[in-house]
Each structure stands twice: as C-alpha cells, then as structure tokens.
Amino acid sequence: MIDISNLELGIIDPDSGANKPVLKGISLSIKRGEAIGLVGESGSGKSMTLRCILGIEPRNSVVTGDIVLDGENLRTLPGERMRGLRASKIALISQNPHAALNPVLPIETYLLEGMADAHGRNAKAARTRAGEMLEQVGIRSVDRVLKAFPHQLSGGMLQRVVIAGAISGRPGLLLADEPTTALDVTTQAEVAAILDEKRRDLGMSMIFVTHDLDLAAAVTDRLAVMRYGEIVEIGTPEQIRDNPRHAYTQMLMSIRPTLNGATPQAHDDGDSTGVGHSAAGLPAETEIGSTL
Amino acid sequence: MAASETAVLSTAPGIPAQGRLASVRRRLGWIGMVCAGIVAVVVLAAMVGQFFVPYDPTVGSVTQRHLGSSAEHFLGTDQAGRDIFSRLIAGARTSLVGPLIVVVATAVAGSMLAFTAVWFGGKTDAFLGRVLDVLFAFPSLLLAILGVAIFGPGLVTASIALAVAYIPYSARVIRSVALRERNLPYVKAAELQGINGFTITLRHILPNVWTQILTGSTINFGYAIVDLAALSFLGLGIQPPAADWGLMISNGQESLQQGFPGQSLYAGLCVVATVAAMAYIGERLGGRAAAGRSKQ
C-alpha cells in the first residue's frame, strides 16, 4: 500500500541557515487494510511524518527519501497529480477540529467541497451523500449540523464531521493525527470507536499518531515507537507491551498510568499539524451538539 | 545632505560601545542606516543649523523672488525672495520641536491617566474610560483644529491641542499593558505589604511599561510631524514669517501654480524623508518587521 523509505526532514533556520534534523531516516511499510500506530513523545516527529506523506511540510524544510503509494512516489509527483491523490486516496484527521475547519463556513460547505470540488462529484449527489455520511458517524440531527458553523458544535461532534468527510471518498489511506487528544475525556472513546469501526468496515489502511500507548494498541495492528526523529522499535501491540526490547520503549511502558480508569495527563503536543488552537477561546455553551 | 550622511556612517565604528552599536546596525540593515543618517542630519540641523545657514531664513528681498538654484542660492528663493535652503535648515527646528511637545505631553498625560485608571480600577477606571470614549469620538485633527479655534493659532497651542487628541490612544495602550503588570502576584504582594500605590506604580509598573511608552512615542512622533505640518499648511499652526516645513509647503502652493514648485516640493520631501526614516527605524528596532519577514 504505502512504503516510506529513508525519509529525512530538516528545518532550515531562516537566520543562521542551519539545518535542524527532525526526521532521521524513517522507513515504514504498511499493507492494505493494516493500521499502524506511531507513538512517541512531543517532537519525536510523528506528525511531521504525516505531513511529509501529504506533501504539506513547513516551507523552510528540506525533505529527502521516498514515499511510494500504490506505485507512485509522492515526493516527486507534480503538484496537480498530488492534489488529486490528496482528494481521492489519502485523508487526514487532525488533532483539533475547531482549528481544522474554516470558522466562517458552515459544515455543509466543508463536506460538499470535499466531495464535489475536490472529488468531482456533482453537487446534488454530494448533498445527499453528505447527509448519509453524517448518519453513518452517528449524527442524528443531520440538517441542523449541516447548517451549523464550527463554533456551534462540540469538539466531539465536529470530529465526527471530520471523520465523515474523511471516509466519504473511500480513501485507501487514513492519516489520524492525535484525533482524540483535543476532545473531552467522555467523547474520546466514542470518537476512537467510530474511527476504528469505519476503517475496518471500509478496509482502509491507517497511520494513527498518538502519545497514548493503550489507545494505539486498541485500534492498530502494529506499533512503531518514535524518538528524536527515528523509529526505535516496531512490533505488534502485544510484543511492545509484554516484551519491549528498546530501552526507550521500556521506559515508556513503565511510566504508563497503571491504575484502572486513570486517564493520561493533558498533553500539549507541540509537533502536531496544529498551528493554533482557535477553539480554546470559543464559549462552550454555544454548542448545540449536546442536544442532538 | 549626502556628504553629511557618509560622515555620520564613517565615524560610527569609532565609538567605544562598538558591540552594541554593531548589533543595532545589524538590526537596522543598510536601509535602516541610511534612515538613521537622515534622522541624524535633521536633528543636527534642528539643534545647530541656524548658526550655519548662509542667509537669514526670515528676511528676503523682493528683487530676488523665485530665483532658480544657483551657486548663491543652492535651492533658489521663495515668493518673498528668501533663501529656500536656509529656510529648510531653520525649519527643521520648529518641525521637530512641535512634535516633541506633542509626544512628551502625550506620553506624560497618557501614562498618568492610564496609571490612575489601573491603580484605582473599578469606578475610576470606568469613568476615565468613558472620558476617553468621548475624546475618541473626535477625529484627532478635528480636535486639534477646535483647540486652535478656541485658543488661537501658534506652535504651542497647536502642539498641545494635538497632544490632547493623541492622549486617548496612548492612554488606552499604556493602560492595557499596565493592567497586566498590576495583576501580577508581586505587585499584589507589594500592595498587601502596605506600600502605597504611587510608589509601586513608580517602582514596579512604570519600568515594565517603559518600552511600550517609548515605542508609542516613536510612532506618535511621525504622526505628529505630519499632523502639525498639516495644521501649519492650513494656517492654524506656527505663523509666518517663521521657517517651518508645513508653512513652506503652504506658502509654496501659490508659487506652484505660477510654475515655481521648488519650495513646496523641497519642504514636502523633508517631511516625507524624516517621517519615513523614523517609521522605518521604529519598525526595525521594534522587531515587528523582522518577525513579519521571517514568516514569509
């Protein structure tokens, strides 16, 4: 499905011209229908790997290595072909849905432009399909949600919308970048479950970026542990959990919360695609998600 | 002017505080250094220029009207036969003194209002806020013109009237910065120790908003040059026969229509060059331009 080989990324400091390495030779192969978890701390390069796959790495960065998706090397594709692939074969679910959606356009526009403008479906069919997709991710008041603006919906509700948009084009590869981290603790599990279910139903491959080992273990087939821009260990969740080989993985396992029901600490993940967290300033009482 | 600029540049490395100067130079870039040169020349002209002018800037002769530039009159003469070059040099003083009055008055009154509002908070803050709202309702040049209408034209009245028009803007900015300081734990702690508000403001709040006041004043200085020149242009600022750039632009208006654009253009260029140079330096040293640039 997708083969990443020897991916390197360095950020050029605009003042000194120094090259700061962020990814140091990532190699990873994912089979069709397989889900792989990228786990590691902030700044380990998890999210940057996803951005390289999509070709949306920061402007002042230098990337080398190959990313081959279904026989095409994404790093060398012409712009318009890459855009086509983003629209049809790869979908991204980012950390903070409130930042990911254009705040001044209604949900309907978000879904329709994904299906019609990017994907070439006709507008009327897309409208019907948008409604169906929302129902599929467990949203009942479809019409109200379609007409709502992002700031009127809760994070959980909005992330379902994003998932609906992401799977509507039946992409082969789903990139999930901490998709539940920014959500309420109560909705995290629901959203993760919906994502997991839809992915399996549609047989999509997935790269699931998270710092939460248990969550990753629950929704993926294999785990890749990242540190300082390198993958230090790859294995099934069971192997990683029961028999971690790398010292860093052992350390990660040891600091997991052990009490039942203990929740991971709030984690400010600076290396996600997130630029700003505009949702933080929005009042929670305006959400209509809770009444749906 | 070009000759004096290079003189300023070439003497710069000889100054003892070389490290600091080099860092300022790096931040300014070469355009910034040219701007600094322009400002230095203007300030120099304002301070000592009047002792070196070739002709008396306020005395002319009717037989010498509208002369073109020559060896005798570097930039020619105006409608009253006065030497334009001498008037430009002498005009630097009034063109800078006015804005200086404006900036100092604005900074002092603005900070005092802001500190009073911040320290007492509550009703005092709300009341002062309302007062500022009323001043905000006037476009600043209108407020200045009203002031001149009431107190009569002149450099000092025009400057003070303009300062009143600027105060709400500076007071609002300083208030917001001072408010942040006011709410910091160490200020609260000092208050609980019973140190009086005046002392705390002077010792803790003022030093922390100082840069803000200074930056604001730099920006105001540019606006004040333009606005005061506009008041002179309208005949409401400094009165003839004084040498002043705004007044020269205004005087030159008639000559311009008779085909002698020199006076207005030279005076106008002086205003533009000074304001642009100050704005550029302010922006570079404020660091905002640098931040904006690296983002591209």
Binding site: L92, F149 | L146, A149, L236, S250, G268, A279, K295
Partner: protein
C-alpha cells in the same frame, strides 16, 4: 438586537458629551464669551445683541446649552458671526462636495487598497516588494503634500485634470474630484494594502488552510474561499476606520484644492474666527464619524458568523 440598542445608546451618550465639549469650548477661551465671539471686530450694537441672543448669553449656562442643542435638533444652527448667513443653509450647500469627495475616496480605498493587498499577499515576489515599498512611502506622505504633487504633475504639468472646483454633473464632478480623492485616499490605500497583505499571509499559514490543501481542494478554492475571504474579515474593520478617517483628512484636501466642502468651510471659519460655524461643522463631523464607526462595527457583526450567531442569542 440587544447589541444594536446597546451600541446606539452608547453612541448617543458619547455624542451628547461631545456636543458639551463643542459647546463648552466657547467658555474655555480666554476673555469673556462676547469678546471671544466678536474677536475685536467692530460690531454694531444690533449685531452684538443678535450674538448675545443667539448664544442666549443672558440665561444661565444649562439653559444656554439647552437652547443651542434644541436649536440644532430643529435645524436652527444660528447665524454666521461674520456674514450673518444662516449656518444651516451654509453647511447644506457645502455638504454635497464633501460627500462626493469622500465617496470617490472610499471607492479608491476599497478597490485599490484591497486590490493591491491581495496582489501582494497572493503573488509574493516582486509584486509584494513593490506594494510593500509603495505602502511604506504612501503612509509617510502627508495628504497635503500628495495633493500638491498630484496637482503639479497632473494639473499643472500634464493638464489632464482641472486644478480647482468640484464640477457640475456626475461625470464632470468625478473628473474634478479624482485628484483630490486620490490625495485624500493615498495614505489609507497604503494602510489598507498593507493590512490586507499581512492578513492574507497570516491566514495562509492558518491550520484550516493547511488542512484545506491536505484535503486536495483545488488551488483556486483554497486561495479565494479559504484564504482571501477569511482574511478580508479583519480588513473590513480597517477599511471602515479609514473611511471614517476621511472626515478628518477632508479639511486638508478641500483646502489644498480649494473645494467648497465643509472641511474647507471649517478651516476658513477658524481662520476668520467665526465660531458659530466652527461649532456647527465640528458637531456634524463628530456625528458623521460616530455613525460611520458604528456602521463598520455592525457590518462586521453581520459578515462574521462567529460574532453574528453569538450576539443573536
């Protein structure tokens, strides 16, 4: 709705207070009110009596203020202290010039300011550098100097535009007002172009634009619907503030081009110490300034759903 009422009340309060300042200015002046109003001119006893009654100087201060204010509301703005003309009529004859000047200037600000900003923000490279440089220059050039340069180049030098007057009829008027409006709007065009460019550059780095690219949306949609459209929201406020600011810039331009607008009327009245006219014009300008600023705030609330939907609840 509550937002609107609240804002209207606030504006009303500020305007009342402003009217007190305009009215009270008379009493701040050195010397007695009569002395100030007459300004050393020799006037006949009848004229002096007329001035005393116009300002009801025989009544206590609050009554004077009330008479003056209620006079304004009924359209009676008193008489010029110099020519004895009715101030209301005088101003009414001058307003069309100022309004058309401001209208042409506003169009220039919107079209040229936003247009250049979009050009610089979306193209980058040489176009951006030229716009940035020109806008730095434009901000530094005082209106009156721009007026003189434009006049000497296009009217005196090339003879393309008339030097004076406001013209008759629509086409002639626009032709007469082009240079003054250009001089008036130049600094604003520079400011708006710069703000627009910055807003576009910032918006293009926002996460939702990055995500729009990642979703494979066509370039044109990412650029216009997500980047430019969003960045124009804050620009609206800036444009509105600049248009409100035209009221202040108009004095200078009208004076430079000898247009018979209310700005020039104000300046001439200050020069001739005709305080009755000064008061009336100043108050009209403050009202116009306040109304335009309010309109801008309301417009912003209407076009941004985040504000609109919050305020609506």
């Amino acid at each position: 709705m509550r937002f609107l009422v609240h804002r209207l009340l606030a504006l009303g309060g500020v305007l009342i207070a402003s009217s007190m300042i305009v009215f009270g200015g008379l009493y701040l002046a050195p010397g007695s009110p009569e002395q100030f109003l007459v300004q050393g001119r020799t006037v006949s006893p009848e004229v002096l009596a007329a001035i005393r009654s116009q300002y009801s100087l025989d009544d206590p201060l609050p009554v004077r203020y009330w008479n003056w204010l209620s006079g304004l509301f009924t359209g009676d703005m008193g008489r010029s202290l110099l020519t004895q003309q009715d101030v209301g009529t005088l101003i009414a004859s001058r307003i069309p010039t100022t309004l058309s000047l401001a209208a042409v200037a506003a169009v220039l600000i919107i079209v040229a300011g936003i247009g250049l900003g979009i050009l610089a923000g979306t193209r980058g490279g040489v176009a951006a550098r030229i716009v940035i440089f020109a806008s730095n220059l434009g901000i530094a050039v005082p209106t009156f100097f721009a007026a003189l340069v434009l006049m000497s180049v296009f009217s005196m030098g090339l003879g393309w535009f008339p030097v004076f007057g406001a013209g008759d009829g629509v086409v002639d008027r626009v032709w007469h007002l082009t240079l003054p409006a250009l001089a008036l709007s130049l600094p604003s065009i520079a400011v708006v172009a710069r703000i627009t460019r910055t807003a576009i550059v910032e918006e293009s780095e926002s996460e939702h634009v990055l995500i729009a690219v990642a979703r494979g949306l066509p370039k044109r949609i990412v650029l216009w619907r997500h980047t430019v459209r969003n960045s124009l929201l804050p620009v609206t406020t800036a444009v509105g503030m600049q248009i409100a600011g035209l009221i202040a810039g108009a004095f200078v331009v009208e004076y430079a081009f000898t247009l018979d607008g209310i700005g020039a009327l104000l300046v001439n009245s200050v020069q001739r110490k005709d305080f009755a006219v000064v008061q009336a014009v100043a108050l009209i300008m403050v009202v116009a300034f306040g109304v335009v600023n309010l309109a801008v705030d309301l417009l912003y609330a209407v076009i941004d759903p985040r504000v609109r939907l919050k305020k609506g609840q």
